[in-house]
Amino acid sequence: MKKLLCTLIILGMVFWLGVSTAQAAVSDTFQITVTCNFISINLRNNGDTLDYTTWAIGQKAENTATTMTQAEGIKVVNTANVATDLSAWVSGQAADWTNAASAGTDQYKLEMKCFDVTQVSPDLSIGTFTITSTANPGNDIKAGLAATTNQFAYAKFTTPDPTTSGAQQTITVTILSATAT
């Protein structure tokens, strides 16, 4: 029988913990077909030597766009055995700023773009995805990523214009891997 390579069929698994209250007869058995064994994701530095840690943008003027360099890029190691979609959201917000579709008063713009290979000079002038979301499922950054295929993700950050705070700000971005639908 033709099935997905990853398919594992668990036949005849009948687990009835609860007490039957509704139906006197059960003619069909409870069956589970596992159609995707696992999803996995690992965010690594560009050289794939360490888990990804920090992108220190440094001191910037208002309304200034900063793009990750090659060395600052994120290697998204994907070993899922089915196609997946990648999305992102700001899961830890800055103390005084929020993410938005464009830079504004105390609003920053965060864009991301994925490439199949590492980029010497990441071009985020076009084709980026703006991360406006702060919760699951986030904003798509890569749809239909083939099984066991890695990506190189780069970010572009535009500072607010204007800002009411000159203090250091820190955010956390969650990158989600989900089975492609």
Partner: protein, 288 residues
């Protein structure tokens, strides 16, 4: 708001990070299994142990804590995965634990249970729901998360006293056909319910999922294979309009070559019912 005048004082550091990660060439920091499954014949009115553990693997050198939340699934974009609607109550899918501490280079598990209330309307349903697995606290500037996809098909039932749940309902959700009845050229049928207060038009077609390699699709029932041709199952109507609250019996004919049913073999196809609202339901047609 007063324009902020002093430029070049913004000190923006996207920082943090918990630790040094000394290990190189790690295959994954976060792995969740199973990524997707389909449970069929889920009983109504019972607390069912699925027998499936949601397992989280942590290949790093550090203990990590993860939260597991039951959340709505992402909307399907491809035909081969459409037809499941959102689980009516997220609480019906229950985890043994919703927070797991996973040791370094270790694994932790939580058993999955599904509990459908004891109401007739919940038979013949196709539902989908997801589990979101995230780090507890911050792991780094960019951190991983995983969203699973779990499908539940409640037990099919032909004679239902109550109308099926949802704006668009079918009963039974599985039509079983024997080889003998195919030879006798018998007709088969299912009921289609318009549970809304408006008239709607429904398109009815036979469908066999043909997923691209390594992409998710609706799975064939264990022990059966997909039919090679959609023409083997023919609905008598391709389009039908139903008045508010109406129901209609949809007749089908089956022409499956005998060679496809030799021995213990059985085949399956789907009948898709698409509402003009964009909603979809399906019926499994099984010939054995």
């Amino acid at each position: 708001m007063e324009k902020y005048r002093i430029k070049f004082i913004l000190f923006f550091i996207l920082a943090l990070s918990l630790a040094c990660f000394s290990n190189i060439n790690k295959a994954y920091a976060l792995r969740v299994s199973p990524g997707a499954f389909c449970a069929q014949n889920v009983e109504v009115g019972q607390d069912t142990d699925t027998g499936i553990d949601l397992a989280i693997d942590n290949e790093t050198d550090q203990e990590r804590e993860f939260s597991i939340k039951v959340v709505p699934a992402r909307t399907s974009k491809t035909d081969s995965l459409k037809g499941y609607s959102a689980l009516p109550e997220l609480g019906w899918l229950r985890l043994e634990r919703t927070q797991l501490i996973v040791p370094a280079k270790g694994q932790a598990k939580a058993r999955l249970y599904i509990s459908i209330p004891n109401e007739e309307k919940y038979f013949n349903q196709h539902w989908v729901v997801s589990c979101l697995i995230e780090y507890v606290g911050q792991k780094g500037l960019f951190q991983e998360a995983i969203l699973t996809r779990y499908m539940f098909e409640t037990r099919p039932k032909s004679e239902v006293v109550e109308r099926p749940y949802g704006d668009l309902g079918v009963s039974p959700s599985v039509v079983k056909i024997t080889e003998d009845s195919v030879e006798a050229k018998q007709k088969f049928s299912f009921k289609l319910y318009n549970n809304t207060a408006s008239a709607h038009t429904y398109t009815i077609k036979t469908f066999v999922p043909m997923a691209e390699p390594k992409k998710l699709s609706i799975n064939a029932t264990p022990g059966l294979t997909w039919m090679k041709k959609t023409s083997w199952i023919r609905p008598e109507v391709k389009k039908i309009e139903l008045a508010p609250g109406a129901l209609e019996e949809i007749n089908l004919s089956a022409r499956v070559p005998k060679s496809e049913l030799a021995g213990d073999k059985g085949v399956e196809s789907l009948i898709f019912v698409d509402s003009d609202t964009g909603e979809r339901r399906f019926v499994r047609i099984q010939v054995e």
